[in-house]
Amino acid sequence: MANTNSIGDYGETVFKARLTKFEDFIVFFLGDKAPIEDFMCEILDEQTPYQFLVQVKSTTSGYQASGNLDIGVDDDKLLKLQNRPLPTYLAGVDTNTERVYICPAFRMNGRYPSIPVSHKLDLNDELATKATLALLKQDIIHFWQTSNILNHKSNFVSAL
C-alpha cells in the first residue's frame, strides 16, 4: 500500500500533467520550503502572464456519500492560503482515477472538510477539462484585472 508521501508525490505529478494539458498554464513546484502552497502557476500568455497559487491534496479514499472527494484541508493551513494576496485554489486529486478537482480558496474563514467535484480535469474527458481550464483562466484574469494591479504597480513608489 502506498504511503502518504507516495500518494502526495503521485498526486502532484497528476496535477501538473492535467493543468498543462492544453498549454494554458505553466506550473512551478515550490516544495517543502513553501509549506502552505504547493505550486505557483502562471498563465502562458504574454498579454496576461498572471500568477496564482495552488495547494494540492491527494487521496486514494475515493468519494463521500455527498459526492465530494474524500479529503479535507486543515483549517489553519486553509486560512493561511486564503491570506495570500495572489488568487489561491485547492486541487483535489483522486489518484485512483487521476482526476483533479479545482475549487477556489478566496473567502476568509471558508472551510473544506472535503473537496467539491464541480470542476474537474480528466484525461478521459477533454470537454470537461477544457471547460474547467477556460473557467480557471478567466477567473485569474478577472481577479488581476479588477484589482487594477498594473496601474498600482506603475504608480507605486519603491523605497529602494
Partner: protein
C-alpha cells in the same frame, strides 16, 4: 518558454506521472546529467535506476545514434552511473510512453544495447521492469504479481539422416489466474513426499489448459518425441536463469488450429467459411546453433473437432492473452 521548450518540460511531467502510476512506491529525482533525466529509487529494495526521457519519435532520429554513442563513451564505472539505464519515449499529447533498457548490469558488468527493444508502458510491463531491475543485483527476491508466472518448457527432438538427434525447446509463460492455477496437492504417503523432495512438484499438479494441449498436440504431429516440463517463475533467480536463453538461437513459429472438416457434409462445411483460424505463436530455442536447420516448420498445423471448435473458440482467444513470450524477461 517557447512551444518546443514547453513540450519538452511537459514530457518530463508526463513521464513522472506514468512512472508513479505504474511503478508505485518510487522516489523520482530529476537530475541534470547528459545521460539521464531522472534517478528513480524503488522504496522497497532501495535499488535505483536511471531514466532518460525523449520524444516518441526519438528512436528513428539521428540523435538516437548520437545518444547511444555518448553512452558507450561514458565511464559507466562511476558510482552514479552504475545503475540500469532506461530510455523512455514519451508521447506528450497522448500521455503514453514506451521504454527499453540501454544499459543493464549483471555481476558488476555493464551491457550496452545499441538497438534498444521498446515495450509499451503499462502495468504488466512496468512490473516486469521492476522484476528485471531487482534481478540485476545479487539479492534474490520474490517476483511481482505479473512476474510470478507458470513457465512451460517443451523439449522437441528430431532425427537427421544419420539418426543424430537435434533438440529444440519451446518456452513460454502463462499468467496465474483464478482459472489457471496450481491444482490441489495430493501427498498420499512418505514415498510420495520423498519423491517430491527429489523430483519436485509432479507435472499433474501444475496448471494446464486447452492452449497448452493444442501446442503440444501440434508439436507432436510434426515431432513425435516431445516432453513437457512445467515450473513456476518465482524469484529473480528464475528470471536470471531464463535470461540465459537470450544467448541462444531461436526462431518464431505458429501453431495454427483449424476445425477438422473431413467428416462433414458440404453444407455443414459452409458454416466454417470465412472463420479466422486460431493462431498460437511459439518460439523454438536451440542449444546448438546447427540444430536450427532441422526445425524449419514455421507453421505447425493441428485440427480439432468442429463441435469443440465452436464451443471453445472465444475461450481460447481470451486465454491467448494470458500466454507470453519469455522474451518479455529479456533486457
Amino acid at each position: 518558454m517557447n512551444k518546443r521548450e514547453f513540450k519538452q518540460w511537459r514530457s518530463y511531467q508526463v513521464a513522472a506521472n506514468i512512472l508513479y502510476r505504474y511503478c508505485g512506491g518510487i522516489i523520482i529525482e530529476q537530475q541534470d546529467d547528459v545521460l539521464y533525466d531522472f534517478r528513480v529509487t524503488i522504496k522497497d529494495s532501495n535499488q535505483s535506476f536511471l531514466v532518460e526521457i525523449k520524444g516518441s519519435t526519438f528512436a528513428q532520429s539521428a540523435s538516437y545514434v548520437d545518444y547511444i554513442n555518448m553512452v558507450e563513451r561514458s565511464n559507466l564505472i562511476q558510482e552514479h552511473y552504475r545503475k540500469p539505464l532506461v530510455l523512455m519515449l514519451v508521447n506528450e499529447s497522448k500521455e503514453t510512453a514506451s521504454f527499453g533498457f540501454v544499459v543493464t548490469w549483471n555481476r558488476g558488468k555493464a551491457t550496452i544495447y545499441r538497438k534498444v527493444s521498446f515495450t509499451q508502458f503499462n502495468q504488466r510491463n512496468a512490473n516486469i521492469l521492476i522484476d528485471k531491475i531487482h534481478a540485476m543485483d545479487d539479492t534474490i527476491r520474490v517476483l511481482s504479481k505479473y512476474g510470478l508466472n507458470v513457465l512451460k518448457k517443451i523439449r522437441v527432438s528430431t532425427l537427421d539422416s544419420n539418426n543424430a538427434e537435434h533438440v529444440a525447446y519451446v518456452l513460454y509463460t502463462r499468467d496465474i489466474t483464478e482459472k489457471y492455477k496450481m491444482k490441489e496437492k495430493n501427498v498420499t504417503d512418505e514415498r510420495e513426499k520423498m519423491q517430491r523432495l527429489i523430483f519436485g512438484i509432479p507435472e499433474r499438479e501444475y496448471p494446464s489448459d486447452f492452449i497448452d494441449e493444442l501446442i503440444q498436440q501440434g508439436l507432436q504431429q510434426n515431432y513425435p518425441k516431445i516432453s513437457l516440463q512445467t515450473s513456476v517463475l518465482f524469484s529473480t533467480y528464475d528470471v536470471n536463469e531464463l535470461q540465459n536463453y537470450r544467448e541462444h538461437y531461436y526462431h518464431s513459429a505458429n501453431v495454427v488450429v483449424a476445425p477438422d472438416l473431413t467428416q462433414l457434409s458440404d453444407e455443414s462445411k459452409n458454416i466454417f467459411n470465412g472463420v479466422t483460424l486460431i493462431v498460437i505463436p511459439i518460439e523454438l530455442y536451440f542449444e546448438l546453433p546447427e540444430d536450427r536447420f532441422f526445425f524449419r516448420d514455421l507453421v505447425i498445423q493441428t485440427h480439432i473437432e468442429p463441435q469443440e471448435w465452436i464451443e471453445k473458440y472465444y475461450e481460447i482467444q481470451k486465454s491467448l492473452a494470458t500466454k507470453h513470450s519469455i522474451r518479455d524477461y529479456f533486457n
